[in-house]
Symmetry: C2
Subunit: 383 residues, 2 copies
């Protein structure tokens, strides 16, 4: 099997599996908030995980708040900022993960917010000049800048440090959806300038249902899932301590293997070149932009992305057409439309997303099968 849908969700890492096998048979269960020693041990375990993660991503432990993943993180940060702000404009981009526009639409309807989107280049990068112009125009009315770090479909990495600088020049906080970057690409919270960031365990080989928020000034946030004093009062509910342990392991696994990213990127470039040589018509979306080391969104004009997906699956290769959560919509995705991509190309795309545990061998097999698939489907002209 060749799993190439890491941007959709990652299988559990081997290190996480090893931990879980041992963990399950331990007798260490209970409520981390209980006074008894089981509770205390679980509690100090959580704090150890927080410290490990903080160290690996360049944050302070008290900037990290565990939760159930990025959809909660996004809903929490936006809810917290927008329910408490007296400003009424949000600046965002048209390439955000669906959770962002859905959440913003709620605050638009319910709280009278105005959502303004920056322009996007054909390579899928936020237009910084446009961002500056928007901030200059709306200045004191802007509650938040909300622009992602790395796009889930194209893998294109946004200039988030510059976005942070520009936002701060106008005194506006910057929330960056870092779901596809933390634990997958080079990232340092302190250096990033970002005010709020998020992480989903299932994207990095930890247990699904785990994740965290990183907040530069946590006191600015109010809780969204209520409760007692858990997570310093910012996130109620008995902590998902097993999920938290897997988060710390996954982030550490990535940190220790970061050097493999270069090889992964090189293998990806060779793969892309191979396919381009064999099928000159193909288009690598966002080719000119910095991208996640293992992400290729490839357009195969003349065939349908969903047909490619199905054909590759017959070779036990798993890819998607765009974001998993909109995978069964046969239209061009909103992200691609905002990049000026027409339907003929948009419907032909396949997303290949690999991990630092993969490399040349996997890419070589993929290239071979993808070219084969294209040649087969092109002959029968699926659409």
């Amino acid at each position: 099997m060749l799993y190439a849908d890491y941007n959709g969700s990652a299988p559990l890492l081997a290190s996480v599996k090893n931990h879980l096998h041992k963990r399950i048979d331990s007798n260490l269960y209970g409520n981390p908030n209980a006074l008894h020693s089981m509770g205390q041990r679980l509690h100090s375990g959580i704090e150890k995980c927080r410290e490990m993660i903080a160290k690996d991503i360049g944050a302070y432990p008290d900037q990290i708040y565990f939760n159930s993943g990025s959809s909660e993180g996004v809903s929490h940060i936006l809810g917290s900022v927008l329910m408490n702000s007296d400003k009424r404009i949000i600046i965002t981009s048209p390439i955000e993960h669906v959770v962002v526009p859905t959440t913003l639409a709620f605050y638009e309807k319910k709280f009278g917010y105005q959502i303004i989107e920056t322009k996007i280049s054909n390579d899928g990068i936020v237009d910084l000049e446009d961002l500056k112009a928007l901030l200059n125009k709306y200045k004191d009315q802007v509650a938040l800048v909300c622009i992602m770090a790395a796009n889930n479909e194209t893998g294109v990495i946004q200039p988030y440090k510059e976005i942070a600088d520009i936002s701060h020049q106008f005194g506006v906080d910057y929330f960056c959806d870092t779901t596809q970057l933390v634990g997958k690409g080079e990232f340092n919270f302190e250096a990033s300038g970002i005010d709020y960031a998020v992480c989903s365990g299932h994207k990095i080989g930890a247990l699904p249902g785990s994740g965290f928020i990183i907040a530069r000034e946590p006191t600015k946030l109010s809780p969204y899932i209520f409760g007692s004093t858990q997570e310093m009062g910012l996130r109620g509910g008995t902590q998902n301590y097993i999920g938290i342990e897997t988060l710390a392991i996954a982030i550490r696994d990535f940190t220790e293997n970061k050097s493999k990213l270069k090889d992964l990127e090189q293998a990806r470039i060779e793969f892309e070149n191979h396919v381009k040589r064999e099928v000159p018509k193909v288009v690598i979306i966002g080719e000119g932009a910095p991208r996640l080391a293992g992400t290729t969104l490839i357009g195969l004009p003349g065939v349908h992305g969903q047909a490619v997906l199905i054909e590759l699956e017959s070779h036990n290769i798993f890819v998607t057409t765009s974001a998993a959560c909109s995978d069964n919509q046969p239209e061009t995705s909103v992200v691609l439309k905002s990049m000026g991509i027409e339907d003929q190309l948009g419907r032909s795309v396949v997303r290949i997303s690999m991990s630092y545990q993969q490399g040349r061998t996997e890419y070589a097999y993929l290239a071979e099968k993808l070219v084969q698939t294209y040649n087969k489907l092109y002959r029968i002209q699926s659409y």
Copy 2:
């Protein structure tokens, strides 16, 4: 080791552990919303779990929405109802789990809600006549009745069917925090009359960070954690499919072992009688009320609950003083105060909460050690 803090959190069930060991080594990972067959298999697995749970708790599958647990469930239901209602009164009780008053305080402050609490009997049961009088007084202004099913500290089971009937007589929906009842005591959603119920996986031996909402009319709810079409649009985020599997196993485990509840209750009564015989001063809180089969909140006047906890731990017995999340507060809990319990008794309480997997052997050991502990501590008069 004798773990007697099941109301705080339950260790993973043996059936859940078995599943997890096999599950971890399977290759079935991915995004349940992806079009590829891995995604489809995960998706149909989730639906199978939903059906299993629905059958076991007397609900329809489309009344069940998976989430991260009860704190999310409470925040979601209250948020959804209170952000969308044009009424401004909530009727609740003074014995709710801390997440409820914390959430309600937010809507009081932010949205101008008025929170009204029913009276509570000395045995810890909601006063139904008072509830009727309140509903009669505030009628059309009441947005929701919010009263729990079984109290986490005392184990006292509330007359939730009657509460549902009374609420509905006044045309008001009833949200019942069923965290301590679902998967722990006899419960049938359809028969209960409840409009919104919740469940936390970690309370029933499933993975922490898993849970669900049961909603009689789900279309009345809006999403709280935003996203795409996951959970029929009511709960965004990639589903915690491993957590969901453990929920279905835990609920099924309980269903198949329900007959053990009678034995557990009998063993608990014998335990209580044993301790009362040896230490005539003890008070069983809520003794006259129907209680969860395995919960005893016992007051040991003249000694401090925390001292008992520590002493029992030296025998490898794990109990708490009250709710885990307020365990390190040395005062009488809000719940006990509302039952008219004074500090001298309130500070002496110890909560013993057992599971249907335990019985006479565990209770006999506990009785022996508890009496020993009392005699030892009473001599040194810890306060």
